[in-house]
């Protein structure tokens, strides 16, 4: 679910240390989770579909068929109908999906890496470094997430890059806080002390022993956040901060459809359903990965 609660991801990942036998059980647990498997399959299909967009669509996303404007769903030649300019909805959804997925995934990955680095440093070095990093993050936490993303993107020139930057910036603190808490849990453990006694430098210990243990909660968290970020990103596109016409992503398509809501509701409904489906799939997938990593939730 799209809460920003981090504790469960950490718990799940604490359990994620063990033999290949344990890994086998985790895979098996994941494979038994019907929701997660369906979601993973669905997401793979969506990715494949947007990659193959030119082949699947048959027409370009901006090709306007003036004779077939406002065509409803199921029209011959336009399976999902057309919009007010006679552009094929299926083609626009497939090409738009490229941008929407990119905006959901790329900032989450970048913010995950930066946040992981900051959290590691804060949690491992403590003291002044920790203070400075955490106080800076507090400032970002003082803004509602969507507001800060809108303010940053709204001050810059609209575009995909702007959206990616804005979402990355607002996400970093969430990852950093998670990574810091996880690091704090790892550092007092005996194997870290052993590494220190064996003469490992601070950098070696941090990269070779702490990092791998902090990595998995961050991955779990990132998966759940991707669903939310598809929604947030489409919100930014909806108010015109992302791709510019005639290019569209799902958020911008909802905004275009809004103008003809009475006459052709499918222009609004379809891209929204696409956002909902993908965000739902990411949420299920995140839950599935978390449960698979956490032995306490193994059932049946």
């Amino acid at each position: 679910m799209s809460t920003l609660d981090t504790s469960t991801s950490i718990d799940a990942a604490r359990a994620d240390r063990g033999s290949s036998r344990a890994r086998f059980w985790r895979m098996k647990s994941f494979a038994r989770d019907r929701g997660a498997v369906v979601s993973a399959t669905l997401l793979a299909a969506v990715v494949l579909a947007v990659v193959l967009a030119p082949t699947l669509a048959g027409v370009g996303p901006d090709d306007a068929d003036n004779l077939a404007r406002y065509a409803p769903m199921g029209t011959a030649g336009h399976l999902l109908g057309t919009d007010q300019q006679g552009r094929d909805m299926l083609a626009r959804l497939l090409f738009g999906g490229r941008v929407s997925l990119l905006i959901g995934v790329v900032p989450t990955v970048i913010a995950g890496m930066i946040g992981l680095g900051l959290g590691l440093m804060a949690g491992y070095w403590r003291g002044l470094v920790d203070q400075i990093i955490m106080r800076c993050l507090d400032v970002v936490f003082a803004f509602p997430m969507v507001l800060l993303a809108i303010a940053i993107a709204g001050s810059m020139r609209p575009g995909v890059l702007t959206e990616v930057i804005a979402i990355t910036v607002v996400l970093i603190p969430y990852f950093a806080r998670l990574a810091r808490t996880a690091t704090e849990g790892i550092v007092p453990m005996p194997f870290i002390e052993a590494a220190r006694a064996a003469g490992g430098t601070r950098l070696t210990i941090m990269l070779r022993y702490v990092l791998p243990n902090v990595f998995s909660p961050v991955v779990v968290y990132a998966t759940t956040l991707m669903g939310l970020m598809i929604v947030v990103g489409s919100g930014l596109s909806f108010i015109g901060l992302g791709v510019q016409p005639p290019t569209a992503d799902w958020g911008a398509m909802v905004a275009e459809g809004r103008v003809v809501l009475r006459r052709a509701p499918h222009v609004t409904i379809l891209p929204g359903c696409a956002i909902l489906l993908v965000s739902l799939a990411f949420n299920f997938l995140g839950d599935g990965i978390r449960d698979a990593l956490d032995p306490r939730t193994i059932r049946r």
Binding site: M1, S2, T3, L4, D5, R135, C136, D138, V139, V140, A142, F143, P144, M145, V146, L147, L148, I150, A151, I152, G154, S155, M156, R157, G227, V231, S234, G235, F238, I239, G240, L241, G251, V254, G257, R258, L261, R262, P265, T268, I269, P271, G272, I275, L276, S279, L280, N283
Partner: protein
């Protein structure tokens, strides 16, 4: 309690200071020269030079910030580029409208989320539980602005029960009832996502409380189910719920901004949208600052409620 409040307020001062720096830096993000950004593309060269001098844009960044902060603290947010009006006169009435929408949505989200979560938790694994939790999952994953449009399609266009947009009827002055009538769709739109998350958390909180040993003892000594739930389950499930409601505030405020755009609700979100379209940076800054301040204060209020409910928190 007083000492707790004082500590909490003292801790917030550096945060607000940081917030002001972030908002000041927004203008540095804007493409092009700040004077052109502030005065708009039509401004004359002389006016730009004058503005650069009055704002101290020829000064180093730090002194620019000090000047800006002093100006902002005295309530002077500058002049709107689009309307040439003082920003404060634009922002303040809008702020009230956003508060109405946010408060309405919060009340709805809490009412829906708690009611559904409580019933689902008390009858876990029943049909109601499974159905409502599936719906909650859907509502929590849907983009709120799109949900708003779907509600408009259903209730305003198809059924004609509710107005499509705005805050009041253009024709007459319907008073409070009219505003409430206009408030229904925007507040439901904003509330659904947070309500869905609250319902899930309340449900698990209630299930956990039901399993605690003191509840079993109370049941064993023959307390009626109603009293048991009222006195032991709800009260014990409450503190995490208040915290979660607090956490949802940010989501709610962010959602309200987009809802205002969908429903042309004349609040800060709609103003922010207009000023982004018009590249009206002083208004963007003032709006962002106001919402962030309101958010910080709301979070303090949540902490106070929590501390009042759970004395242990006052020590921390």
């Amino acid at each position: 309690m007083g000492a707790f409040l004082a500590r909490r307020l003292a801790g917030v001062i550096p945060v607000i200071f940081g917030v002001s720096i972030v908002i000041f830096m927004l203008i540095q993000l804007a493409p092009g020269d700040a004077a052109t950004v502030l005065l708009g593309p039509q401004a004359s060269e002389a006016a730009k030079i004058e503005l650069r001098h009055t704002l101290g844009l020829d000064q180093p960044l730090v002194s620019q910030y000090v000047v800006w902060l002093a100006r902002t603290l005295s309530g002077n947010f500058g002049t709107s580029i689009a309307t040439q009006l003082p920003v404060a006169t634009l922002v303040v009435p809008r702020f009230l409208n956003t508060l109405i929408l946010t408060f309405g949505s919060l009340v709805l989200a809490v009412a829906i989320g708690y009611a559904i979560g409580l019933f689902a938790g008390l009858r876990s694994h029943s049909l109601f539980d499974r159905l409502s939790m599936s719906l909650a999952l859907l509502a929590g994953s849907a983009p709120p602005f799109w949900l708003g449009l779907i509600l408009v399609l259903l209730f305003a266009i198809q059924l004609r029960w509710l107005p499509v947009s705005g805050m009041q009827d253009m024709a007459g002055n319907g008073g409070w009832l009219d505003v409430l009538h206009h408030l229904v769709l925007p507040s439901v739109t904003t509330a659904l996502g947070p309500a869905a998350i609250m319902a899930r958390i309340v449900r698990s909180s209630v299930i956990e409380a039901l399993g605690r040993s003191h509840v079993r003892v109370a049941r064993a000594k023959g307390l009626s189910r109603a009293t048991l739930i009222r006195r032991h389950v709800i009260l014990n499930a409450l503190p995490p719920i208040v915290t979660i409601t607090g956490l949802q505030l940010g989501y709610l405020l962010g959602g309200a901004l987009l809802t205002e755009v969908v429903f042309a609700w004349p609040g800060l979100g709609a103003l922010l949208y207009d000023s982004i379209t018009a590249r009206d940076l002083p208004v963007i800054q003032a709006t962002t600052l106001l919402i962030a301040l309101a958010f910080v204060l709301a979070n303090i209020a949540v902490d106070l409620i929590n501390a009042a409910l759970d004395p242990r928190l006052r020590e921390a």
